[in-house]
Symmetry: C2
Subunit: 286 residues, 2 copies
């Protein structure tokens, strides 16, 4: 691992591994009036280190929309030598940060890292899961905040066949909220549907996702599983590269970020440089 | 199974099996101004069958306090021939009732039963679980509504030894909120403590529980596990039969009713008669 630069006089960078229940947050990104996950994190950091005009340079691996959860989220933030001195390096711990947050956000790890690490731009993979309960799924009120209930039955074998059409390197324009100048080409590495007694899990893995992509893909799979959309129709929609009304962007509460993948330490800086060239600042929200 | 009496001209009795997330309810029992589980169920029944002055004679197996959950709750309600006619017998289904409730309450079954069945008085056993996360437990924001977090580490082997002292037929006066004329003698059949990576589960099984009993027992076990109370001290407290300040009644959100046991059909009436003689109306809340 590279030597943390903070020790050589510049700023110090910290990585936080954390998770959250997104139900009562207006998403990750800080907003002037709404309660957001980043807003709560910044409030906690401000209590420890004082005000910071640049929001401690905080960046997150997967910007989640309102109501979306995260089981393994990653962000980084930077401290100046003065801020570090004020807090005392030994007191910058996961435990201390946790005491300033509700149990909706759980801090699992907080460590100093190299400047080469960028929570967002160094990431080479992200995975999400979307949970569904169809008519024959055994439902529980203790998970209903995390599972989309649909009234009909879904054919999960059909859904898997549809998923196989979507896997690969494609222009996902038909599934993304368009943004000026941003590419919608992504490599969907894995897309599996698994049914158990208590849920149907849609699992997705990609280099990155464009805005709304996961929830639009799940909407399309539900349409296929409910026999409202055929697999050839789905293939045509994918090729069309523009948004259609044949399926819905499903509700956010079924969705959770499940992991973020980073390259080995010597590849962190190169990956960050590459990703910065490819993606616009707002592009990776889901 | 006895023949449902509804078919012979008297009232008809229905059994509902259901579960709920108690977080945003002021407990099971109907209250004039607060939102309760029974209140929501009665509202739904009223929509189907019209107003009923006696609240459809509804009774529940385990009256839960504010914030307590239920994974396998049972209640019954009665319909007159006129109410039955208004609704249409074939339309009295779990699915229909579910459409009138939020996903905080899940109806898993609704069937007509014999008059001998009484959800509360026919029950011969109830079990509860209480979930705890201590310092070394891996915490998740997606279960924090159902798990009590404690800051220190708990010695679960010590807790099991303490549990073994409490198991059996005892006067649990030291653990019950006293009620005029009500017995506090209960048979605690099982009390086990199981640690896994994500939680410590306290599991309790008894004929019935008196008010606050489960949460007081868990409070005592946490005191023992945190080495603030010794096992001989706990034994002395049990023998004393009066409430003490050596432990707390823990928060409700860690608690859930997990099952209710009924005897075979030919024993239902006899059991109900026996229980009615033993217990006061308010006694079985936890």
């Amino acid at each position: 691992m590279s030597k943390p630069a903070g020790s050589s006089g510049g700023f110090s960078r910290f990585r936080i591994d954390f998770s959250y229940d997104g139900t009562d947050f207006a998403g990750w990104a800080k907003q002037p009036t709404l309660r957001t996950v980043q807003g709560e994190m910044l409030k906690a950091l401000t209590k420890i280190f004082g005000e910071d005009k640049n929001d401690f340079g905080m960046r997150v691996a997967g910007r989640t929309d309102a109501g979306v959860h995260a089981l393994a989220q990653v962000c980084h933030f930077d401290l100046t030598p003065a801020q570090l001195k004020r807090a005392g390096r030994s007191k910058i711990t996961a435990k201390r940060l946790q005491t300033m947050l509700t149990q909706e956000i759980v801090i699992s790890n907080l460590v100093e890292v190299s400047h080469d690490f960028d929570a967002r731009f160094s990431a080479i993979g992200r995975s999400y899961r979307y949970l569904i309960a169809d008519r024959s799924t055994k439902k529980s009120p203790l998970t209903s905040r995390y599972v989309l209930w649909v009234l009909n039955d879904l054919d999960t074998e059909l859904m898997q066949s549809a998923a196989d059409v979507l896997v690969g390197l494609h222009d996902f324009g038909a599934f993304c909220k368009p943004r000026e100048g941003a590419t919608t080409i992504r490599e969907l590495r894995k897309l599996t549907i698994t049914r158990s007694e208590n849920q149907i899990e849609v699992y997705l893995e990609a280099d990155a996702f464009c805005r709304n992509q996961v929830r639009a893909i799940v909407g399309a799979l539900i349409a296929v599983g409910g026999k409202k959309l055929s697999i050839p129709e789905l293939a045509t929609i994918l090729k069309g590269k523009t948004r259609v009304s044949a399926f819905k962007v499903v509700a956010p509460h079924g969705l959770a970020l499940t992991s973020v993948e980073y390259p080995s330490d010597d590849q962190l800086a190169a990956q960050a440089e590459k990703a910065r060239r490819l993606r616009s600042p707002e592009e990776i929200s889901v």
